[in-house]
């Protein structure tokens, strides 16, 4: 039986998961009765948001002209934050189906994912999807694919993942156009771990692709990277039901349960070999995804000291539990003078951050307060060392700093031609460096920029969406850390610096951002009996200021028909509110003020 290993890749929402459903049905892996939408999206959150977060691998069988094929395919997430999932999936495959929505055309992640496939030396089958829709223009989209990606338009297969039209042709192309798996290079087992998930009952489940040799149930295996050994207690495939097998041979894809307790004990990209008969060299692995975006989570209900501690404990539990399922975010305890105890967490991107926050609340049952995202910086010191910081308060004494480096991304935007001007101004204002412009089709263009990541996480995507009336898409990839004229901006309230409000900003726009922050802060801090100056400063130089005028009127007008109790309760509430605030010097700052400032929109 011949084997075809492929991934399904696309821009978000172009129909990968739906196409996967049709492949399952057309190959009789699931009956028509069992079919439900986006069958491979099993997480609650995935089904609810209609997006794929985790890649999933399945095995089905198909026959073409009397020849039997085993098809192993991986549905991947479309969103840029989960690009690393796509790379991992691709490195376990020889082929990929590139799905493009015939009403949307080539989009930013279409390009990014296609490039990833080409970089991984993977054979691409371009598929134009959703041809059942009235607005579909498959020929135009096929031309875009040729224009932007260099894949011949006549190679495109037109399908509807909804109605099933074109699916038989696609299956045939998969079998005939995708290459055979490469032959073994050694007799020793070498299997690449491309994913792992945590199951509450069975511990870690490892997904792998056998590149050399084969593996049997009961084999003692060794992870070549970590050196750990485990018994291969259970082997199997998803068809898409879990089906146990005794052996997985050359080029096959499957899963293993091996009594591994902790996701952290498995390194995705590691090579599995046999303890008794190990391979000499591991397969080339992956680069670990790097956390690029950081924010703090604090328990949000926390009246008084006692309450706050109790909530922190439930937050800790939720964070630790979620981390068992998603090892790609990092966390460490954090104490903020304003918000108490919480966690500083690192994420692969903004969507990843959103998803972690949502899963904490939903699966962990804790309500969290989230601070605005920041990026990580590398700080080069005069004495030669480099430190990585995720928080302005960690910035060393300026006199010891040689340079501060920030992450730079390569940004691709696909947008309607008439919004190019606005987008270029936006990128310029965000310290972007123009790298190129490409024709996509009539009315659409692709822009390439280099931009600091910090500028993207700060209200960039929303602006792009509104400037393009929703049609623009973007994708980015970290290219390097680059020195920039960055400085710590301190916020002073009544002359006292408030560490929890400080930020790292580029000198060219520090003033603008500071002014916006002070304006928001002014709205949040109640007037006091004295005037309160608000200042933003770099070192000792004040770059922006605001003033909260002294309170002139704070009095209850009326006594409600002698309802004295009610009046007293109102005053008591005022007193309680005051107690919950953070005293800085003689100024009371409410928790909301810290959050308002840390919010990201301008």
């Amino acid at each position: 039986m011949k084997i075809r290993n492929f991934s399904i890749i696309a821009h978000i929402d172009h129909g990968k998961s739906t196409l996967a459903d049709r492949l399952l049905q057309a190959t009789k892996a699931v009956s028509d009765r069992e079919a439900r939408e986006q069958l491979l999206d099993s997480m609650d959150l995935e089904r609810e948001r209609g997006i794929t977060i985790k890649a999933s691998a399945v095995t089905v069988n198909h026959e073409v002209d009397g020849e039997r094929f085993q098809l192993n395919f991986i549905d991947t997430p479309g969103h840029v934050d989960f690009n690393y999932e796509v790379s991992r999936a691709l490195s376990a495959c020889e082929g990929a189906i590139l799905v493009v929505d015939s009403t949307q055309g080539v989009q930013a992640q279409t390009v990014a994912n296609a490039y990833l496939a080409i970089a991984n030396d993977v054979e691409l089958i371009p598929v134009v999807n959703k041809i059942d829709l009235p607005a579909a223009d498959p020929d135009k989209v096929a031309m875009e694919i040729e224009q932007v990606l260099g894949l011949p338009a006549e190679d495109c297969i037109y399908v509807s993942a909804k109605t099933g039209r074109g699916i038989p042709e696609l299956l045939e192309a998969i079998c005939t156009r995708l290459p055979d798996p490469r032959p073994a290079r050694t007799e020793h087992l070498r299997a690449l771990i491309f994913d792992s998930i945590y199951d509450d009952y069975r511990g870690v489940i490892v997904y792998f692709r056998v590149f050399d040799g084969s593996i049997k149930t009961g084999d003692r295996i060794r992870m070549m990277g970590t050196g750990r050994t485990y018994p291969a207690n259970e082997l199997g495939r998803y068809t898409p039901r879990q089906q146990k097998v005794n052996q997985l041979g050359l080029a096959e894809v499957g899963y293993m349960v091996a009594g591994i307790k902790n996701l952290g004990d498995v390194r995705v990209g590691d090579t599995i070999t046999l303890e008794s008969n190990p391979a000499r060299e591991p397969l080339p692995g992956y680069e670990e995804p790097r956390q690029m975006v950081f924010c703090d989570f604090y328990p949000s209900t926390g009246d008084g000291e006692g309450g706050r501690r109790a909530d922190f404990e439930s937050l800790r539990e939720a964070v630790e539990k979620l981390h068992l399922n998603d090892a790609s975010f990092t966390y460490q305890t954090q104490h903020s003078e304003a918000l108490g105890f919480g966690f500083r967490c690192g994420f692969l991107g903004l969507l990843h951050m959103d998803i972690v926050q949502e899963r904490l609340e939903r699966e962990g049952g804790v309500e969290v307060v989230q601070t605005a995202p920041t990026v990580s910086y590398l700080v080069d010191l005069h004495e030669g060392a480099t430190v990585e910081i995720h928080n302005p308060s960690e910035l060393p004494d300026p006199s010891t700093i040689l340079a501060i480096r920030e992450p730079i991304v390569k940004l691709e935007i696909i947008c309607p031609t008439d919004s190019i001007g606005d987008l270029m101004s936006l990128c310029d204002a965000r310290r972007g460096i123009f790298r190129g412009q490409k024709f996509v089709s009539d009315g659409r263009q692709m822009l390439e920029y280099e931009l600091p990541l910090a500028e993207i996480i700060y209200d960039f995507y929303d602006k792009l969406k509104s400037m393009t009336r929703g049609y623009g898409t973007m994708d980015y990839e970290i290219v390097e850390y680059r020195a920039a004229d960055l400085a710590k901006v301190s916020i002073l309230v009544n002359g006292n610096p408030v560490e929890a409000l400080s930020l790292i900003a580029h000198r060219s726009n520090a003033e603008l951002r500071s002014r916006a922050i002070l304006a928001r802060l002014k709205k949040q801090i109640d007037r006091h009996q004295f005037e309160i100056p608000l200042q933003a400063a770099i070192g000792t130089r004040v770059i922006a200021r605001e003033t909260i005028k002294a309170v002139r009127k704070n009095v209850t007008a009326k006594c409600y028909g002698g309802d004295v109790s009610r009046k007293r309760k109102l005053l008591e509430k005022q007193k309680e509110g005051k107690k919950r605030m953070k005293m800085v010097g003689s100024v009371n700052i409410p928790q909301e003020a810290f959050l308002a400032v840390l919010e990201q929109s301008e």
Binding site: R527, Q529, K549, V551, R552, K553, N554, V555, T556, A557, K558, C559, Y560, G561, G562, D563, V564, S565, R566, K567, R568, L571, E572, Q574, K575, K578
Partner: protein
């Protein structure tokens, strides 16, 4: 606690003992001698958008049922002995709009008050009724006077049509003068006008216009309240949605200061934060509140006070009408000494007469363990929110505008 045992009262919010309500307990054994009575009439012609008093437009016409039920409540108070040994020097019938009652019903209610409550002789009695200007005609004025009412408080609020619209008040401006005319003609000559400042869209000029218009009508008493955005009122909702904009705090403060100056020049004395009167015309009933005296309360949502026990009659008309308990309470509460002292400070400091320093020292010695209250008072003295005049401690004019900054630390 000793007090509690004396009255054998349940703690705040607990259910009553046996068949007697806590009020009955109090009434039976209290040494409190109420000096006034408040009666709440919950009907209005139209609901103003800023109003969070218990009042509504009664589409079922329950006026008669209301008056009958009120008669029961008043009689019951007498039966309970709540008024034994006391002589009421004030009656205040508020709402809602008491003058919305049809004249025979209004007369019946006034008669019941006179029949059931031990009122002081007419010369020593202040009997106030609140009125919406639009509801006062010659007939109503005559009924009030005949019933013994000698003071009327009219909700004028503003003389600026735009401001009235902003508040959704539905009276005509001319009706204020007309109402005053009818009342004076009927012999009721102690008259108050309520004004509101800080209405969205108003300016210092329009407010000055309101003050002048009010003064031109020569009332004996004026109340000027800063507009409050009470939660769950249409006004607050509109503000939250951005449909209307609250006036700037500074402007509101200037309006208040303007009122202080203009009314002083016109011969009015400010005796409480929001209340001004010609000499000898301060509202005695309101003074009972501020001086922490005892008064009875009747009608749905009315609040009363008997020697440290604060209580409230159930605040829904239907429930009140149907209640088996002749005097149904929804809330009652007796504060401990510490809390009661806070309340007394909160009330007393609203008055221009302030509080007595010897009394203050005595209480501070007993009810200020952490020294928090003393510190708050001292800092207010130091920064000019408080001043000591002879043996009295009181808010300064600046302190008046900032009263809550101090009172919140004292409760």
């Amino acid at each position: 606690m000793a007090d509690l045992e004396r009255y054998s009262l349940p703690l705040a919010g607990e259910s009553s003992i046996g068949s007697r309500t806590p009020l009955a307990e109090v009434a039976a054994g209290s040494t409190a001698r109420p000096e006034g009575a408040y009666i709440h009439v919950p009907f209005c012609r139209h609901k103003c958008h800023y109003c969070d008093f218990y009042s509504f437009v009664d589409t079922q016409d329950r006026q008669e049922a209301f008056v009958a039920r009120l008669e029961d409540e008043l009689e019951h108070a007498t039966d309970l002995g709540a008024t034994v040994g006391s002589r009421l020097v004030t009656v205040f019938i508020g709402g809602g709009t008491p003058t919305l009652l049809r004249p025979p019903l209004l007369a019946r209610m006034l008669a019941a008050v006179r029949r059931c409550l031990p009122l002081a002789p007419d010369a020593d009695l202040e009997w106030t009724v609140e009125a919406n200007p639009e509801t006062v005609d010659a007939e109503i004025a005559a009924v009030l006077a005949a019933g013994g009412v000698n003071r009327v408080s009219l909700g004028a609020q503003s003389f600026d049509p735009q401001s009235l619209r902003a508040l959704e008040r539905d009276h005509r401006i001319e009706s204020v003068a007309a109402a005053l005319g009818h009342l004076r003609e009927a012999g009721i000559t102690n008259l108050n006008l309520d004004l509101i400042f800080g209405i969205p869209g108003s300016t210092l000029e329009s407010w000055r216009g309101d003050l002048e218009a009010a003064l031109a009508l020569e009332p004996e008493h004026l109340s000027a309240y800063g507009l409050t955005y009470e939660p769950n009122t249409p006004l607050a909702t509109k503000e939250a949605r951005g449909e209307i904009e609250a006036v700037e705090e500074d402007l509101e403060a200037s309006m208040y200061e303007d009122a202080c100056n203009r009314l002083a020049a016109a011969g009015f004395e400010r005796y409480e934060i929001s209340n001004w009167a010609r000499p000898g015309r301060a509202c005695l009933h309101n003074l009972l509140y501020w001086r922490n005296r005892s008064w009875l309360a009747f009608g749905p949502s009315a609040s009363g006070h008997l020697d440290g026990l604060r209580f409230k009659v159930v605040p829904r008309l239907g429930e009140w009408l149907d209640s088996k308990d002749p005097w149904p309470l929804s809330e009652w509460e007796r504060l401990d000494e510490h809390g009661a002292f806070g309340e007394e400070l909160m009330l007393g400091l609203r008055l221009t007469e302030g509080v007595d320093t010897a009394w203050l020292e005595d209480r501070l010695a007993r009810c200020d363990a952490g020294g928090e209250r003393r510190r708050a008072l001292e800092s207010a003295l130091a920064d000019g929110r408080l001043e000591q005049i002879g043996t009295r401690l009181r808010l300064t004019q600046r302190g008046t505008l900032l009263a809550n900054t101090l009172l919140a630390d004292l409760v």
